[in-house]
């Protein structure tokens, strides 16, 4: 691994705006943040995966993976991050390094030719070039190739140096943030600037959730300059440094972007969420307040309050028919942890009970929020081994599990309702409409008669069934 990447990782680990990092001693800090993985008991994606998740929603760019097949071949077109226009980002591009390329050291030349071919056919505004383990190990210098290609071909080629073996997905998110800061943000000037321009950081437009939020912003006169990265265009991100406020969602995965943009361009930021009614209202209120404080028309705050009053009333009215059925229902919440506090408050708002929530990837600040919401530590768990999770569900300790696709079949095989709330989900749960959609979906899951059906004993399991009698006599 080259020195530049090493020092970049060290810098990411030493994020001054990160509360977890600040709580550490100097010695702890030097060790970095990635917990060592346990071979044979590890789960989750690698740094490359994390970087790709964060950047791929730049929908008009080519995302080219330099490596052997698996890195792109096994993972492309697998998320539902929507685009309102360009579809280039859904194509899977890779150099598909062969044995000969590796043996002969052809990697850099091959990469350059691949970049050229991609630009010739797709004419993208930029090419993001991802390093993976093998080229990183044999010393392919993707930064040099990108520099050369940018000069020669006239299209920005951006090196994303986050090979899988440097750490987990979360580190990859942050390295993606570093990439944008180093090569993209602030490289172009926006055509239009308004006093209410904002950026949203850490929103990937999964299942189209951004489109549940954007109309709210537009209704009160807030202009979304860039979403990093959801339904994003290269040019919007390149020129997003003139925005007035940054809002950070999805916890602090891209906190480095928020902090540096504040240092370089004086853009204040806050952390908010669009999950749940009160969190959505709080976020809108904070956005408006911060914009007004930076000189936007004070009427913005009034418009925001009016919208909040109307939308909250509308949302509660739409939720009302479900409340009775959902009140007191017990939820096992098992997410990567990043958004758990946000989901917790959303579920509590509608009267559901959280039996446990996982905090595997949560920061101390996230945990503090959960503690405040749930009145103590008792319900926070680090991780639940699948065997234990199955046992809990089979014993009926929760009425429904909300998790990612990875644990889906633990719940279903325990014949327990389950819904996906992670990044592979197909349903959009953000904003006021999203809460209503979530509630309707939970209601649909919990009230489906299939749960009685699949628990029905088989004919041979009934004591008085002829089949049972017959086999007993036969045995």
């Amino acid at each position: 691994m080259n020195e530049a990447l090493k020092s970049r990782i060290a810098a990411v680990f030493n994020e001054p705006a990160c509360p977890t990092n600040n709580a550490k001693t100097e010695k702890e800090r030097r060790k970095g943040c990635s917990k060592p993985l346990t071979p044979g008991a590890a789960a989750g994606g690698c740094a490359f995966d994390g970087a790709k998740i964060a950047l791929q929603p730049i929908t008009d760019a080519v995302h080219l993976v330099h490596g052997p097949l698996a890195c792109e071949g096994n993972g492309w077109d697998n998320r539902h991050s929507g685009s309102s226009g360009p579809q280039t980002y859904r194509l899977g591009f890779t150099t598909d390094l062969s044995e000969m390329d590796i043996v002969l050291g052809n990697g850099e030349k091959l990469l350059y030719r691949a970049i050229r071919e991609a630009i010739a056919r797709h004419a993208p505004p930029a090419v993001f070039v991802y390093a993976t383990c093998v080229p990183a190990m044999i010393g392919d210098d993707i930064e040099a190739v990108c520099r050369h290609a940018t000069g020669k071909l006239g299209t920005p080629c951006i090196p994303v140096n986050a090979p899988g073996f440097v750490g987990p997905k979360n580190l990859g998110n942050r390295l993606a943030g570093e990439t944008l800061l180093a090569h993209v943000i602030g490289t172009r000037e926006p055509a239009v600037v308004t006093p209410t321009d904002v950026n949203i950081l850490g929103e990937y437009n999964v299942a189209g959730e951004l489109w549940q939020v954007k109309p709210l912003l537009e209704a009160i006169g807030i202009r979304l300059q860039a979403t990093i990265c959801g339904d994003a265009r290269y040019n919007d991100i390149a020129s997003c440094h003139r925005a007035r406020v940054n809002m950070m969602v999805c916890s602090s995965a891209l906190i480095n972007i928020a902090r540096v943009m504040q240092e370089r361009w004086g853009i204040p930021y806050f952390e908010g969420s669009f999950y749940g009614i009160s969190d959505t209202s709080d976020s809108l209120r904070t956005l408006a307040g911060m914009l007004v404080a930076r000189g936007a028309d004070p009427a913005l705050a009034e418009r925001t309050e009016a919208l909040i009053t109307a939308e909250e009333a509308r949302a509660w009215a739409r939720i009302a028919p479900y409340r009775e059925a959902l009140r007191g229902k017990r939820v096992l919440l098992y997410t990567g942890g990043v958004k758990s506090w946000s989901i917790v408050s959303a579920l509590q708002e509608i009267g559901m009970v959280i039996t446990h929530t996982s905090v595997r990837k949560s920061t101390d600040e996230d945990k503090g929020r959960i503690r405040a919401l749930m009145g103590g530590d008792a319900h926070m768990v680090d991780s639940i081994p699948p065997r234990e999770m199955y046992a809990q569900l089979a014993r009926g300790e929760a009425d429904i599990m909300l998790s990612g696709g990875r644990s889906q079949f633990v719940a279903l095989k325990a014949r327990t309702p389950w819904r996906d709330i992670n990044q592979e989900r197909h349903l959009a749960f953000a904003g006021y409409d999203g809460v209503v959609a979530l509630v309707a979906e939970l209601h649909r899951a919990l009230t489906n008669p299939v749960w009685q059906e699949v628990r029905r004993p088989a004919p041979w399991e009934c004591a008085d069934a002829p089949a049972a009698a017959h086999s007993a006599a036969g045995g």
Binding site: P39, G40, D49, K413, E424
Partner: protein, 466 residues
Amino acid sequence: MAELVNARKALMTNPLKSSAPLGAALAYLGIAGAVPLLHGAQGCTSFALVLTVRHTREAIPLQTTALDEVATIMGGADNLEQALVNLTKRMKPRFIGIATTALVETRGEDMEGDLRLILARRPELAGVRVVLAHTPDYHGGLEDGWSRAVAAIIETIVEPADGAAPLPPQVNLLPGVHQTAADIEWMVETAQAFGLAAVVLPDVSQSLDGTVPAQYVATTLGGTALEDIVRMGRARHTIAIGEHMRAPAELLSARTGVPATVLRSLTGLGPADEFVALLSEISGRPAPAGLRRQRSQLLDAMLDGHFQFGGRRVAIGADPDLLFALSGFFAALGADIVAAVAATANAPHLAACAAKRVVVGDLMDLEDLARAGGAELLVTHSHGRQAAERLHIPLLRCGFPVFDRLGALHRGTAGYRGTRDLIFEVANTVLAGMHTHGPDDFASAIPPPFTADQEKHHAGASPVAH
């Protein structure tokens, strides 16, 4: 004979190929009490796991040696040892199948040697059979990984023939990676109909077929029993499906003396007949009535369905053996294969595919060729959905992965039954896209000066629902 073209460009766009370690993992998942272990970075496992879960809609036990930067530089033996010990403690497998990745193969370690030392010094691994296959991502694809894993299992676990001749007589079946649970079920039932007991290696029809067990099982539940693998030498014959299973079949023959036959395909009347004739010869019995009835049903399906196949322009993208099988199937019913794209070049029979030209390439090659050839039906795995949308033609999902439709494992394309059902599926897909004729379809009854190109398009553009 097809002309073979290798479209090797610097840029692969929309991979058709899945990786070799993933193919090996799928094979290991067909063994009872198994946990596949990918020797590489955690992302190698994570991507493979997500894709396999989406294809099978099952919980998949797939582990990683989680190589980090230090292990990548210093060597992965320690990680391999820890992984074996940790997962044995946690998951209590009877079998661990290791598949190497590009990461460890690029460094080039003596992994067999490491593994021998680990097994010798770790008593807690005594009850577990451990197998290692070399499957670097930069070499071949799904078929290569699957084939190498099966060969590694045979090499490590099968014992030399002991002269015992079990009753009923045994036949070994080595299905290819493209065979589904439904295909394997048909093969096993058909063997049984000839009085033969089948040992299937690997048997995903027992492990990935979707059951709801009464308790949590961390490893695979069902699959080929290790005891049965040990005794594969007792069989009268081994039948392997697909050229990629030739090497494991020959290895098994060499170790046990059991004769082997490789059938290139099981899809279509001719290939199914070959399988049945072979079983008849092995067992010395005539085909039973039930099977004769199945064949008759297939003949009827061919007669009913051929209207939708004749002259139909089809574009197929698949791994070599599946491409061979599907192109033979479509050609036998009169379809015109305007594009045939193979995911890898690693097969001796690509030139024997029923197409004028076979291109080794990606899904973008398939899309370009399909467009140029005016294809009316796209046949490939689920990743072809984007191409099908852009081409405005239906997609018949075949191969791996199929992640946007249910029941991938229960959809058969093998034997009389699978071929019959495939004919219906293709014909129904074509029928669903048909429109009823209106006057506009015949607007050029007195045509402008005739060109061959227009005639071709006119003929193809207005089929009518019967």
